[in-house]
């Protein structure tokens, strides 16, 4: 069989070296080369390669951001490449995933590709490991960006730029200081993803970034109002009041 591969790396010479190595084999077809996170997501979803040679450090979304997005629809076999990233390497070791330390030799690359092809033929068993890797990264607050699709383009919004998140039916709106982005995800799923990044649910429909919170003031009938640094005022749901106060107390004992 011919395996369709995509090479993602932000350094053109590094990509061409991998391509050169892969072209020396007769069982690989390189379908695309990409240089950043967004491009990699787009090409992967469009071309649906079997194998992804994925660099971790890239502009516009790193390798993990790419996987988190791609894995909702596509599950290619992934060979991670990195020059130096202790954190990523530990994560790969935990899930026994294959990774290549750059610079690598053609022998080392070929061995990894051979293994990938074998697992492709057997039926992709490594997808579970990748899913577990993503779970592990989520728990350790590695999520620093959320992917947004708007007006036919996709881009990342930094979680630190988000002040609050509003749920509306099947969508949520991410509010940054100057903009509002819609994404198709449930607020509960987002809450689970963003909890380690100091986001707290304050209402059935509201999730706020504690970094953006100015104060919490008592309102009528024992209700509370959360006031953000930007001046936005949000109701604190009765069932979420304790949750918010607990989070705030954990952060700043003075409040």
């Amino acid at each position: 069989m011919i395996v369709r591969a995509l090479i993602a790396d932000d350094e053109p010479p590094a990509r061409s070296k991998v391509r050169k190595f892969l072209q020396a084999r007769n069982d690989i077809e390189v379908v695309a080369e990409t240089g950043d996170g967004i491009e990699t997501i787009e090409k992967t979803l469009e071309l649906r390669p079997d194998l992804l040679l994925l660099d971790i450090q890239m502009p516009r979304g790193d390798g993990f951001d790419v996987l988190r997005e791609v894995y909702r629809q596509e599950k290619p076999i992934v060979i991670f490449t990195t020059a130096y990233d202790e954190y990523a390497i530990r994560a790969f070791e935990v899930e026994a995933l294959d990774y290549l330390l750059k610079p690598f030799t053609s022998e080392r690359l070929n061995a990894a590709v051979d293994r990938a092809i074998r697992s492709l033929e057997k039926g992709k068993e490594s997808t579970e490991q990748v899913a577990r890797l993503l779970d592990g990264l989520r728990a350790s607050n590695r999520i620093q960006r959320l992917l947004v699709r708007a007006d036919g383009r996709i881009f990342f919004v930094k979680t630190s730029d988000i002040e609050w998140i509003e749920a509306e039916e099947k969508y949520v709106f991410l509010h940054t200081r100057s903009q509002r982005h819609m994404i198709r995800q449930s607020i509960s799923a987002l809450e689970a993803q963003l909890a380690p990044a100091s986001f707290v649910r304050i209402h059935r429909c509201h999730l706020i970034n504690l970094e953006a919170l100015q104060e919490i003031v008592p309102w009528a009938h024992g209700d509370y109002l959360a006031i953000l640094k930007s001046g936005v005022r949000l109701n604190v749901g009765r069932n979420f009041k304790d949750n918010l106060l607990r989070s705030v107390a954990g952060e700043q004992p003075s409040v």
Partner: protein, 405 residues
């Protein structure tokens, strides 16, 4: 625009321990301390005078017995208590006098006579006080009129004792002051030792971080990977990269790089690093060093420029601004060497807190402080057109700066 001067929080290292006694005279070159009224526990002094009164009354009484007198013990007791307590009342004035008019090696020829005169005045006052209180007590107890004999002789007789007393007070104050001073010196020595070891620790920390950043593993491995890739396409370019990398490695292996280097070396290091960074980023990085009138032999803290440039590149957000522009300007201005690093990155939201928490910047500030004390400038501000401007000024020296310990 938000500018922050590093000088504001350097008091931490400058505070000298506060002293309980004020310096006695500002004229002397040496700092000497004298005992103030508040330094004395007056209850103890009162106790001493009471004991003194009882004991001297005992001697008067017993010597009367020896001479066959049958005077009751109450009389000498009354005399001595009035005598001692009136002088006790005058002791604070003496303490004040000695602290206002301290006797020093360089002024004794007029202060000692002055104190002799003061002691005479004290004597007269004390004798009069004694006379008045005894008369008062006598009339109160109905003992008749107190007769102190011929007052001319009495003043003279009492002055003998008062003279001894006056100088005894001086001696006691002297001893107390000396004791305090030596205690204070010990305390200050201990504080100085603490400050020194703190500074040394800080310096060691800073140097360790500097050493680490020279061989930033990210940089090293990325460069090695780059060379390994470029090699297939362009052998000459790969060769250039290896040569730049080895020059950097060689410089960073030099032992003395941890403190300061000549500007020439620093620039060479930075140029090598930039060459490698350019090889990696290609068109995405524009880099420019301007070093117009500065003598390249002047000493600068090692890696000072490199850290700032590395910082600018590290914090650059390629998503917002696809091309990294870093400009470094080195200018000699009178006795200072100024280094300005400008970038087109995202800038800093909170300039003053970044100064303290941003690892690169606070590290730089600590190093500057350890090397130059207060003699440096360090400011960061957001540029109006976007990006960050870091300004450094260090004193010009051809010698390595003395470590401020």
């Amino acid at each position: 625009m938000n500018a922050y001067s590093a000088k504001s929080d350097s008091e931490r290292l400058e505070t000298t321990p506060s002293l309980p006694g004020r310096p006695a005279a500002s004229s002397g070159a040496e700092r000497r301390y004298w005992i103030q009224l508040s330094d004395i526990n007056w209850w103890i002094v009162l106790f001493v005078y009471t004991i003194g009164a009882v004991l001297t009354a005992g001697t008067v009484y017993t010597s009367g017995l020896a001479q066959g007198s049958n005077m009751p013990y109450g009389y000498p007791l009354l005399w001595e208590f009035t005598g001692h307590y009136t002088i006790f009342a005058l002791v604070p004035l003496m303490v004040l006098g000695f602290s206002r008019l301290p006797i020093r090696r360089q002024n004794w020829y007029w202060t000692v006579p002055a104190h002799l005169l003061i002691s005479v005045i004290f004597g007269v006052i004390h004798t009069l006080l004694m006379l008045l209180t005894r008369r008062g007590v006598y009339s109160l107890l109905g003992l008749g009129v107190y007769d102190y004999g011929q007052m001319g002789y009495r003043f003279l007789m009492e002055y003998h004792k008062q003279f001894i007393h006056y100088w005894l007070v001086y001696a006691v104050l002297r001893v107390m002051a000396h004791y305090r001073e030596s205690r204070e010196q010990e305390r200050r020595a201990a504080a100085l030792e603490l400050k020194t070891s703190e500074l040394q620790r800080e310096l060691a920390q800073v140097q360790l971080q500097a050493l680490r950043s020279q061989l930033n593993p990210h940089f090293l491995f990325n460069t090695l990977n780059m060379v390994s890739s470029v090699m297939y396409e362009d052998v000459d370019r790969a060769d250039h990269m290896l040569s730049a990398l080895s020059r950097m490695l060689r410089m960073s292996l030099e032992k003395d790089l941890a403190t300061s280097v000549s500007l020439r070396r620093e620039l060479e290091f930075v140029r090598c690093a930039m060459e490698l960074i350019k090889a990696r980023f290609g068109e995405r990085v524009l880099f420019d060093i301007e070093c117009s009138n500065a003598d390249e032999d002047v000493m600068v803290p090692s890696l000072i420029l490199h850290t700032l440039i590395e910082n600018a590149i590290k914090h650059h957000d390629l998503e917002r601004e696809p091309v990294i522009r870093v400009q470094a300007r080195i200018v000699r201005k009178e006795s200072m060497l100024t280094l300005d690093v400008l970038d087109n990155g995202p800038g800093i939201e909170d300039v003053s807190s970044a100064m303290n928490s941003g690892v690169g910047l606070s590290n730089t500030r600590q190093r500057l402080h350890a090397l130059y004390g207060e003699e440096y400038q360090f400011e960061i501000k957001n540029r109006p057109e976007g990006g960050l401007h870091v300004h450094l000024g260090i004193p010009l020296t051809a010698e390595p700066p003395l470590v401020a310990l």
